[in-house]
């Protein structure tokens, strides 16, 4: 863990009860200045509740919170100026048009008329919404709504941007566009905290990922480390133009220690507990007139990590509750 002083967000043992439902259970983590931090977890894990606590829409039952080095537990107002918030549902004003919505949001952060007009124009341009700037927000498509909501979240140039499921319900092209915009923002120095269900999104955007299951933080790490942790097996895929099927028993006899998972005419999948030397394998195939056209190491995806970690955690909790 880094130094709390240069953390953008430092949460310690945050807990939130709704009556007897524990939505967030002693969650501690740090988000470093300038990083993209992803909160991943199944429905009802407590992601939105955590964002609400971090931004001031919910009060933690217990725990403490530091934002940009300032202790803000119980008085989050003083940090709200640095925060931009993009909620899971677009909540701009349907009766105002795009430009008016942006200008209104800017004014809430004390921006003056000239400055907010200029900034609104700049963002509408950047988000490709200039053509619909005068259209009522209520008449926007879902993708346009999402983009304008993000634009409204960054209009005052916040240092930390919170996004709750920024691309849920958005088509592939728009989602990619939004991810590109977020990556640019981050490169310009904005710290980003986002929640998502999409593994792919976390993989593309996030420097570090936290897994939340049933209100509990089960893992926080970089993508590389998370993947490495589940990589207890090495998988290699070999492709050839044909004839591999007939080699089945020959391969198994020649390499008794390796596990050949699938062998088809054009493809063979080898799984081992140790890094596999490929040269002898390829040489043997070549001796039998088979040209290996491709050798590929298959790494576990974040999805494998997610399933393994959350699956384990869910199973463990089921055990615990059935025991108690």
């Amino acid at each position: 863990m880094g130094d709390t002083m240069d953390a953008a967000i430092a949460a310690k043992r945050l807990t939130k009860y709704f009556h007897d439902v524990c939505a967030v259970d002693e969650v501690s983590f740090e988000v470093r200045d300038g990083e993209v931090f992803g909160f991943l977890g199944p429905n009802g894990a407590g992601k939105t509740t955590t964002i609400n606590i971090l931004t001031g829409l919910a009060r933690p039952t217990s725990g403490s919170l530091c934002i940009l080095g300032q202790e803000v537990t119980g008085n989050i107002k003083r940090a709200q100026h640095w925060m931009g918030i993009v909620p899971d549902e677009s909540n701009l004003y349907p009766e105002l048009d795009g430009r008016e919505n942006l200008c209104f949001c800017a004014s809430l952060y004390g921006m003056r008329w000239r400055e907010r007009e200029a900034r609104a124009r700049e963002l509408l341009e950047q988000f490709g919404l200039t053509a619909v700037a005068r259209r009522h927000f209520g008449a926007y498509s879902k993708g346009m709504k999402r983009k304008l909501t993000i634009a409204a979240g960054i209009i005052h140039r916040p240092r930390i941007l919170f996004l709750d499921e920024p691309t849920t319900g958005i088509d592939v092209a728009s989602a990619r566009e939004i991810r590109r915009l977020l990556a640019e923002l981050n490169q310009a120095g904005t710290t980003i905290f986002l929640t998502t269900h999409y593994i792919e999104e976390a993989e593309r955007l996030c420097h570090r990922i936290a897994f939340l299951v049933d209100g509990r933080l089960v893992r926080v790490d970089t993508l590389g480390n998370l993947v490495r942790a589940v990589q207890d097996k090495h998988t290699v895929e070999l492709s050839a133009s044909g004839g591999l099927g007939e080699m089945r028993s020959l391969l198994r006899d020649a390499f008794p220690n390796e596990h050949f998972e699938e062998i088809s005419d054009t493809r063979v999948l080898v799984r081992t507990d140790h890094p596999l030397p490929l040269a002898p394998l390829i040489r043997l195939l070549e001796q039998h007139g088979i040209q290996v056209t491709e050798a590929r190491v298959i790494r576990p995806s974040l999805e494998d990590v997610f399933v393994q970690i959350t699956g384990l955690e869910l199973a463990r909790m089921k055990n615990e509750s059935s025991r108690s």
Partner: protein, 244 residues
């Protein structure tokens, strides 16, 4: 400065989105007119316009302010756009004052519609204008805060409207605007003293006809106390249940 830019902007948006819409403007004009006419038609003897003026003004303010908070607060809470305001770096006090200012302004303007009408029908030279203006502002603020309290205690817009009526109609009959308080049944009299409008109505009577029952200072103190209390309870309620 951030606070005041936000304040002005919220007020301006509410004015444009809600108050200055044609139905509201016509409501603001028709409502006081209808009340005035109703009193004229009802009474057989020659009515003294100045006797009726405080009552009509108070009603215009009460109905003009309380009903609007259901829209500017409950409706926006329902649509979640209110969260945007809660997340802004301005104090909750200033935010809620911004959300109620529009209603105060709207109610106060409504109150002067019957005054303008009365000016054509009667001699208003004996009116103590500074007291009248002060009374209008205080009645408008206390009514707006009553509307606010109702708006933050309910979830749905229709609930806010139902509750408003639950308070408004008894208040109109108990506050001494149309029946003097000492002519009310004995059991209801103490209740009258618990209503802000009682003191507002008295202040209006004093300003228009010099016929108030309580000293002006008592009325002012009572109204200010009600305003502070209603605002404080509303804010407490928001802190407790909206910032979950």
């Amino acid at each position: 400065m951030t606070g005041w830019i936000a304040y002005y902007s919220i007020l301006r948006k509410d004015m444009r989105s809600y108050y200055l819409k044609p139905p509201n403007i016509s409501w603001g004009l028709i409502f006081p007119l209808a009340w005035t006419l109703m009193f004229f038609v009802r009474s057989e003897t020659d009515v003294d316009v100045r006797t009726l003026l405080p009552g009509v003004m108070a009603l215009s303010i009460l109905f003009g302010t309380t009903s609007m908070l259901a829209v500017t607060v409950t409706f926006e809470k329902r649509g979640r756009s209110f969260e945007r305001l809660l997340l802004a770096p301005i104090s909750l006090e200033l935010l809620m004052w911004a959300k109620t200012s529009g209603a105060v302004f709207f109610g106060a303007v409504n109150a002067f519609v019957p005054v303008v009408l009365a000016a054509f029908l009667a001699d208003l030279s004996g009116v103590i204008w500074w007291q009248l203006v002060l009374a209008v502002i205080l009645v408008a603020v206390s009514s707006a805060f009553l509307g606010l309290l109702i708006a933050v205690c309910v979830k749905e817009v229709f609930e806010a409207q139902t509750f408003s009526n639950f308070f408004r109609f008894p208040m109109v009959f108990l506050c001494g605007l149309f029946f003097p308080i000492d002519q009310l049944p004995g059991l209801l009299q103490p209740l009258a003293y618990l209503l802000p409008l009682t003191y507002g109505a008295d202040l209006l009577h004093e300003a228009v006809q010099s016929s108030g029952r309580f000293p002006v200072a008592v009325n002012l103190a009572a109204l200010v106390t009600f305003c502070v209390l209603l605002f404080w309870v509303s804010l407490h309620r928001i802190r407790q249940s909206w910032i979950g």
